[in-house]
Subunit: 150 residues, 2 copies
């Protein structure tokens, strides 16, 4: 009673290759093989896969997922550690979110600039040079005097 790797792959939206890879990486602790060496997926394996998908859905790396699985196998003693893991993950996500927002601001600025340029037919080089000058000032301080273009 069980599923073949192909059946599970199809159902889970993964490839058989990926499932073998997960197995090799120790993400499927309940995996068993038939006498002839074929993987037989049971309910338990599928549950682990669902957990893996959930954690991937948290943006977690496979290494951390592996660590989580190992902790699960150790039982309730690791609950606080598992909570910590998710808290750290939340921090990571928040950082990424902040980063994305900064990126978005820059992109919006560029879109505004180029939308304007498209109207005029050429980019506003005064504005462009002003940006470069201020960045140079920020990065090089007073080391650079000339900020004009050759």
């Amino acid at each position: 009673m069980g599923y073949t790797i192909g059946q599970v792959a199809g159902r889970m939206g993964l490839t058989a290759h990926t499932l073998r890879y997960y197995d090799k990486e120790g993400l499927l602790p309940s995996m068993r093989k038939s006498s002839s060496g074929l993987r037989v997926f049971t309910e338990e394996d599928i549950e682990w896969l669902i957990i893996i998908e959930c954690l991937k859905g948290c943006g977690m790396h496979l290494k951390d997922i592996k660590h989580y699985i190992d902790m699960c196998l150790q039982g309730d003693a690791t609950i606080s550690e598992r909570l910590e893991l998710f808290k750290k993950q939340k921090e990571r996500l928040e950082e990424q979110m902040a980063q994305l927002k900064k990126h978005m601001e820059k992109v919006d600025y560029k879109i505004a600039l180029y939308t304007e340029a498209l109207k005029k037919g050429s980019i506003d080089s005064a504005r462009r040079n002003q940006y470069l000058a201020s960045e140079k000032e920020r990065i090089f301080g007073s080391e650079i005097k000339s900020i004009t273009r050759p």
Copy 2:
């Protein structure tokens, strides 16, 4: 009159390796070398670096940055294409943002679950099994009947 690779690297917060890599990838179109083969960074090179940093700050891949630089070199004729590039980048960022928000929701759920578990000393296996069951239903439909754990 110019800067050495080490000076620029230090000032820009990059390594000399990275600058050589950028040069090799064609991201520094104005790079010149001294008679003895050493890179001499001019104002213009630094301006390109500032532009590269800005675009990296938009979350853009180096390949797209290279493309952008090539378009800049072609002048005002490419303005509308450059605008398109940033609009596409904005879409990409919005997608990533949506993804991150989904991740965050899942992580928050896990934190709630484990915070509760920590209080009780063990995880709520009824709740856990309910989640697994609903996911299995979603993924496998009616194919799986038994949803209990061995």
